[in-house]
Symmetry: C2
Amino acid sequence: MLSLVLQRKFVIMEGPQTYEPLTPEGLASRLGGLEVLRKCLGGVADQWQVEEIGDGNLNLVFLVRGTKGAAIVKQALPYIRLVGDSWPLPLNRAFFEYHALIRQAERDPGSVPEVLYFDENQAMIVMEFLDDHAILRSILIAGAHVNNLGTRLGQFIARTAFRGSDLALPIVERKSDTKLFLDNHALCNITESLVFTDPYHDAELNHHNPAVDGVVTDLRQNIKLKAEAQALLTKFVAHSETMLHGDLHTGSVMCTEDSIRVIDPEFATYGPMGFDLGMMLANLIMAYISQPAHRNSKDLASYQDWILDVIKDLVSAFNEEFSVLWLSERRGVLFPHSLFEDQQHDSSLPLQAKQREIWEDALGFCGIEMHRRILTLAHNADFESIEDATLRGELEAQNLKVGARLIIERQSIEDVDAFLAAIQITKVTG
Amino acid sequence: MLSLVLQRKFVIMEGPQTYEPLTPEGLASRLGGLEVLRKCLGGVADQWQVEEIGDGNLNLVFLVRGTKGAAIVKQALPYIRLVGDSWPLPLNRAFFEYHALIRQAERDPGSVPEVLYFDENQAMIVMEFLDDHAILRSILIAGAHVNNLGTRLGQFIARTAFRGSDLALPIVERKSDTKLFLDNHALCNITESLVFTDPYHDAELNHHNPAVDGVVTDLRQNIKLKAEAQALLTKFVAHSETMLHGDLHTGSVMCTEDSIRVIDPEFATYGPMGFDLGMMLANLIMAYISQPAHRNSKDLASYQDWILDVIKDLVSAFNEEFSVLWLSERRGVLFPHSLFEDQQHDSSLPLQAKQREIWEDALGFCGIEMHRRILTLAHNADFESIEDATLRGELEAQNLKVGARLIIERQSIEDVDAFLAAIQITKVTG
């Protein structure tokens, strides 16, 4: 309830307004006065247990436990935590994360952690603690299952894509939202360079396994591939179609066996509808391709089959949910009823064309994500945690080749079956 | 020189800050104190001759003459002049016109009237008077010639398209500019409805010649056509690629035999590169198609041939100039040298793909403009001034059919020759 009230205004902390990074020791004295936190945690602030848990790359993250409950306190640092203060990054990413979270909560209720409190000056979000949840990437490396994973992710992507676009929103609201997120250019710039461009030249922060040198040379010699990657970048920077999560990989999803929550939308920006879909597909495909290194031969096939099922479910849920919304919530300026339903004309032809466009774009973004995770700054544990260097090289090479194929052949990969076939052609059996 | 200084700041009038429409009688007393105007006009303000000349649809426009020179004073009204105060329209369109003019002047020097003074509160721009210039649409109806018309228009469109995009600008500057123009939603909304959607249903403000009823029914029955029109609208609203003029028809160009200036960019917005190109092509094609009603049979063929030459010159100058800029001024985040030239790879493959995309989009926008000028609120004099109702109906029908063909077949119309062939197939000879 409280979060619904908070969604519509900024909450300004009563304490000092100058930004100051939190410490485990100082947290209770700085946040103990917050009514919302006292209610959620219970007990006296002095007795709260504070643990710094980090979130990997960018921010300070604390788990705070009281007698009654727990909460997460996430605070941006003025630089990238992974790299250090040599790479400054604006604090306002917390502002964009907050604004993305409340929109996602509205567009797909229950999909993201509830925001309890936001302090813009301190670049700090206090949010629901997701007890017992683990990062999806770790779950996939460990070989565990999550019920309805594909369906739930597909629905999330469809609902946020559709409901943040001119298919659904009044256009003045969509434009005003686009304006708001256009200021998130520092984080978008990371995506623009690191994801779309750095894989295809010898960029300063790049590093890759020498075992894939040959494949990397081939990729960078491929002018058609680089041209397509830049056409996809053009879409990413200019096609302000809907509010994207912007960084929707398996490290941005937390799950139990039955619960799925999407976190960390600080890269939120207006962009093309296929972007989040493509990023998530890429990370599931990378989980699939890297499995031979993580499973024994007895479990490999069945777990890989499960990942393929997750992918099929995801694409099918995305298409199904997008179609439902197209028919039931199409109230924006695009494809208005006045041109179709009101003239007794079926709107399924333009729906199919739109889904086709999203699918093609998604395949392209998928291929690019598969490249950048092997070649640029931020690799992923699916491959990085493989100790056998030879096997890792083989799997990474396979991943790079599949990525190139998706980018170049995306217009002729008709559906999810053709997509999965394209992935399995150069299969390594481990 | 002065305009260069003015380009970087707002000039706030010293007089009353409350908006008040100008009158011919009151103009000298309200603007006589302006140093820039006194210098340009000469003499004493009391002796200035003020003539209200209108500009057709939207604004107040005055021609002010002194002993030495003349200037144009253009002031927005809080409603659409053509319709009256029943259709309110925000005054800030003068703000967007001013910002578009100074950017166009920078990106293609000499292409637009020089801005002498801008007053945001009064929604007023004082600009260079274009002596002896006539509106291009009237020139084309009258059958006169303008030297280098196609070349100059093609260069203008290429330069503004390229230099306002992420191919050239630092991306933070492009994003900040996109934000600025996103507030121009009132005028963009006119384009969104009136241009892209109203032609294809029985919208309230529509009117058309009953002689084309049959063709109109066919168009509105064509689901594929309407789907394509909405896909083009999706590009228009969301693909924020470059700063467009936004209303680049032959009524927005003023010429003498040797001078060409583009005026009236109050519809400026960030949009797809093919939009201005398509709008201008449409208006030249409409001039071409309507010629049988304006020329005697002796002059018809040669004047129509001249218009076709203008179109060929325009497309060829656009492509040529775009290519030159691609090679010489590509300094933005898109298609960076690091991926092509720095790796000794030719960038002409992605250039051709980009030009192909712009061309296809332009053909689609061209077809839509050809439809809305016959079917919605704002018709054009090329057809409206034809007294012979039967001939007008035939030419309008031809125009509608060609438009539909361009929208639907745009992906297979390879070049300007195929484009001109598509137009001539249903030729009416007058």
